[in-house]
Subunit: 235 residues, 2 copies
Amino acid sequence: MADRLPAEGSHRRRRPTKQGTVLSAGLIVETALRLIREHGASALTVRRLGAALGADPSALYRYFRNTDELLLAVADELIGQVWVGWAASGDWRADLRDLGLRMHAAFLAHPQAAVLTAHRTTGGPHETHAIETIIGVLRGAGFPDPAAVAIYHGFVDLGLSQAALDAAHLALPAEAREAERRVWQRTYTSMPAGTHPHLAATGTLLRNEMGRSAYPQLLELFLDAAAIRLPRKAG
Amino acid sequence: MADRLPAEGSHRRRRPTKQGTVLSAGLIVETALRLIREHGASALTVRRLGAALGADPSALYRYFRNTDELLLAVADELIGQVWVGWAASGDWRADLRDLGLRMHAAFLAHPQAAVLTAHRTTGGPHETHAIETIIGVLRGAGFPDPAAVAIYHGFVDLGLSQAALDAAHLALPAEAREAERRVWQRTYTSMPAGTHPHLAATGTLLRNEMGRSAYPQLLELFLDAAAIRLPRKAG
DNA sequence: ACCTGAACACCGTTCAAGT
DNA sequence: ACCTGAACACCGTTCAAGT
């Protein structure tokens, strides 16, 4: 698919842009992440990215076929950040918990990019490493292959979908996020018991509950369920 | 906030547009949903919506402050579709399973709209009804209020986040979706055992597993965990 | 070989002018 | 009172022209 685009490690000589930048796929991805982080998802436009790099916007099309291909590279880079400084402990449950929370944290550190990428399959090197390692943790723990694969699916989709949900909230413009907060703080804490008895009875509890992520609770529950599928060790 | 915009049921007389349409918030929301459904999320632009309604794009700003406010109305409408034809059975577990699957189905029926709205708190009438009903099912089953509220949170966030994840995949342009399918069908089924032993061993299992949603599995597991928190009935 | 710049076909939103 | 139309400040992408 990408065969006429320069390979990642290509040592081809590149002419600097007018402003002196020597472009590369890696530099473009880094700059894209920084742009999103500093100015929000709406800042990721080819035109602004070109300006931030000191190059004409159209020069980027020599490195990525279109914005979707650039986005997949950003996605793989985000997946890569999950693994920085991680090492397996040998305890599958601790390892999965740690990886789940790291995945969530890495995506929430770049909420705007996470929203755009959490649901993508990149096929890239970091994604490949992630699958290999997680399946390895499960097989190493003694899960039979079909169970390992089913648990892998649930684990990754739970983590990614929750990361995307929480990231989407963080990525809202301040005004919209504040408006949603007010709904939980005010609207749903003052429903008349006549028409909405259950909301009236639990509004305050809801206000506290909905202010945090459901992920830690759901992850723990998932790990409990996975543990049940682990065969007892022989001998 | 929306105090200078016409109320939903306002009987104010409205002049038809040049092309004869009498605008209303409801008609605009319906048309927006249809537009997204027929031509994808990128079709939801003020300009195209205006054209579809037979009105000047700028006329819409008399009904919605901006596109975000329109989106929240679309979100509440989607939530409303979950409840069409639903009635409580009295069995909390069957009711939650049914509602979870309906939520997922309603959002997947409008994948492009779901991606844009699944993470929003609308504060609208359908959302209010949803919270009241779900909390009611849990309290009616005998869950103490703190448990009911925690379970509500996990249930709704699991359903919405999984709906958003699956919808985001369905909402991809055909070309991108096909490319991702190929990654699971080809790339990850042919990894060399030398560098990626675990992927090499489970590639075929993964190919089958990743083609379907993790949600039914996760929902069942969640309901199991919830059941454990239900106090035994006295007497 | 690679970057540039103009061009094309779009956006959301505002506001004075029309009816 | 409500809709219109022009205007403003943007988009992604292509492609012939420059170096």
